[in-house]
Symmetry: C2
Subunit: 428 residues, 2 copies
């Protein structure tokens, strides 16, 4: 299609009109998501579609249960117009995550509201991948049982190199995974469900969630650097994830920034994440050895929750514990070097720090901003804003669920009309 026409030609076939209508359904539905409830007249004005077309499109979206009608809230002179708003309470999508120390599942409806969320502490890095995936399937089953309808799809986030096409995790060093066919395995465990199961890198999905959380335009540029055992990074350029030639882009954690630094879980030395990952911080703070070195039974003795461990480190820093403050300062120093490289190369609107970096905000925010202002080539850090993620550890599951919902916004016809006989296979 690269060089083909993107508009129907004059005298086009019926197929063209179907394509145009599906596209226009998407335009109206997405407009309501991005700009909020509004009248048909305003929809027509703002999208450039004519009023008759908008009425017909809205009628179809109502039939599919994707939008609903209501009175305007504003008290205005004259008769209030009928206001169209997103509905889609029966349309849900699932984000799931496997990470070091926990599994997580979150279900969103079409309005982006959380329907349910589950999170369990689990020493995933010490367990066999098959066992981890069976625990994840159980968590998914439980969450979906509560929801009661088939989701539009499930997106699974994993910290590592992911082949989205095949659904295989190629390398996730912090989990100790190599060539794990996650999608095939989850599909099998869920009994080959009628909805798609997708796989992506956890930081990629979290970065997409941040575009919205940071109030950025949908075609903005954003970099998320998220501190976990290692660090993840997701890079959004012009509103789209940077994926690269083979889908391996965005692995900023393995930039070689520190000559002679400690060995990384990936086997190389000098990697950014070996200098600033949570494992590096825990190793430097007495009493907080990294999870990898523990040898307890993961089923009986799940790791202390990451937030709790971090809160403890935060408490010690706040109390002025010199060893903790030194360890944080060293992390901060290398965090700034890598962040400076990314901002120099990408000049994003926002650099977001997530995961455990957000928990260290009081000790790192100032020096990081100074560093970017001082060291990035373009004046004043190239105008890049530094922000801390408000999403905690839920960014990946939220981003995953949003990605799945996006499929509906791009093609609302994926959701069948609700007045059809509602065999579950027809709701996806």
């Amino acid at each position: 299609m690269r060089n083909g026409p993107t508009r129907p030609r004059a005298g086009g076939s019926t197929a063209d009109h179907v394509t145009v209508r599906r596209h226009n359904l998407s335009v109206v539905l997405s407009h309501l998501r991005d700009h909020g409830p509004r009248s048909r007249a305003r929809l027509a004005e703002e999208t450039g579609l004519n009023k008759t077309t908008v009425s017909s499109l809205v009628a179809e979206l109502v039939d599919r249960g994707l939008v609903g009608e209501g009175e305007t809230e504003r008290a205005t002179v004259g008769r209030p117009g009928q206001i169209i708003r997103l509905d889609g309470e029966h349309v849900v999508a699932v984000g799931a995550e496997v990470n070091v120390g926990y599994l997580s599942v979150l279900v969103l409806n079409l309005r982006g509201q959380v329907v349910t969320r589950q999170r369990i502490a689990l020493d995933t890095a010490a367990m066999d991948p098959a066992l981890v995936l069976s625990r994840l399937a159980r968590l998914l089953d439980t969450a979906l049982l509560g929801v009661g309808v088939h989701p539009v799809g499930v997106a699974i986030a994993v910290p590592g190199l992911v082949e989205a096409d095949t659904g295989v995790v190629r390398a996730a060093p912090n989990l100790g995974w190599t060539d794990v066919p996650v999608v095939a395995e989850i599909n099998r465990l869920l009994g080959e469900p009628p909805y798609p199961v997708l796989l992506d890198n956890e930081a990629n999905l979290a970065a997409l969630a941040e575009v919205e959380a940071q109030g950025l335009d949908r075609d903005g540029d954003l970099i998320l650097v998220t501190g976990a055992a290692g660090i993840g990074s997701g890079i959004v350029v012009g509103g789209r994830l940077l994926r690269g030639a083979r889908g391996f882009a965005g692995e900023a954690g393995h930039m070689r920034v520190r000559e002679g630094g400690p060995q990384c879980a990936c086997g190389h030395t000098g990697c950014w994440e070996a200098a600033v990952g949570l494992n590096a911080l825990l190793a430097a703070v007495p009493g907080h050895e990294p999870p990898h070195t523990s040898a307890h039974d993961p089923e009986q003795d799940p790791l202390p929750d990451l937030e709790r461990r971090l809160a403890e480190i935060g408490d010690r820093a706040a109390a002025g514990d010199a060893r903790v403050l030194d360890a944080i300062a060293e992390v901060d120093r290398w965090l700034s070097v890598g962040a400076g490289i990314l901002v120099t190369v990408f000049n994003p609107h926002v650099l977001v720090l997530g995961g455990y970096f957000a928990a260290l905000r009081p000790w790192i925010a100032g020096s990081l901003r100074d560093e970017l202002r001082g060291h990035v080539f373009a004046r004043d850090g190239g105008g890049t804003r530094v922000a801390f993620s408000p999403l905690g550890f839920s960014g990946s599951v939220r981003g995953g669920a949003s990605q799945v919902l996006d499929r509906v916004f791009r093609d609302p016809v994926l959701v069948e009309p609700v007045d059809k006989p509602l065999a579950q296979e027809e709701t996806v």
Copy 2:
């Protein structure tokens, strides 16, 4: 337009049909550029447009002098079809470049053939920017006088931070330029010409030229790192230049990769270009001091041409001069570190080394490939191919001229029909 419809609605207005026709003219013209001469029937088949429409579009492109007809070259059974091919000999575009040590101008016609090229050695870094620009305007005047028609436009390449919108060079440390209004000045010097004068970063334009030179798909991912006094980098993602929030993206030369390294022209330390730029190499090779330190009269004693200086270094390396080989090895080491970072983050199809790096190819190609295979996180360097630019120092001017020609491919109506009275203002 982000949320607006991209296709005309059913019952659309005349404006829609004009838009569709302009788009389809672009589809046909671009198809001929990308895939070579072919019959109307084949154009119809490959673009999805119907035959009547293609005939009408071709007729209009012939009127505008953009395409021509000819017999098929292949001897086939039956009557040979009329073959349509790009014409556009009277449609030309200009790329110009200001760089350390030289000015350069190149004129391409619509077929991408070089109409004329000019290059002069000039110690631009030692001169006042106004003087450099007046020399550039003279060079442009001379080149265009020989061509005899107004160009579609002129693109000027400069090594530094460029504000494309305003036509101002914000910072070009290797030239010593700050806030130079290049476009306004050139427009004034050329007597406010009827065609647009554009400004871009030299490595950005050269990167675009490499997409074609490397035989990459037009939506491919490519990184060009070009060695000059400093180093330039241009990053193409999905066929488009990475520009960032304020247009300052792609400044890989100022990634901080070398703790405690020498001071960079930008004022910081540790920058990649301070470790691998030509100035770094020349400083390390006795008898090849960097141009900045010379104090000759630029008009009377232009710098020895860069290629000649490099050939000399190459000769000494080939003869086994240990000091030259050591200097090259040190450059190579840091080149590999920075290249590894870029490949890890972007996972491009191709990493192209241009400028003086291409001249050092025999001494750096092998070790660089080893480094990427060995250090990039994704297996086998993530599949990224390492290539050396075949364009020498002409990449920026070629890319600039191509960018200007692209305006015609995107909207062929920019070129007036040739049978109209040919007042020069109407040819642009």
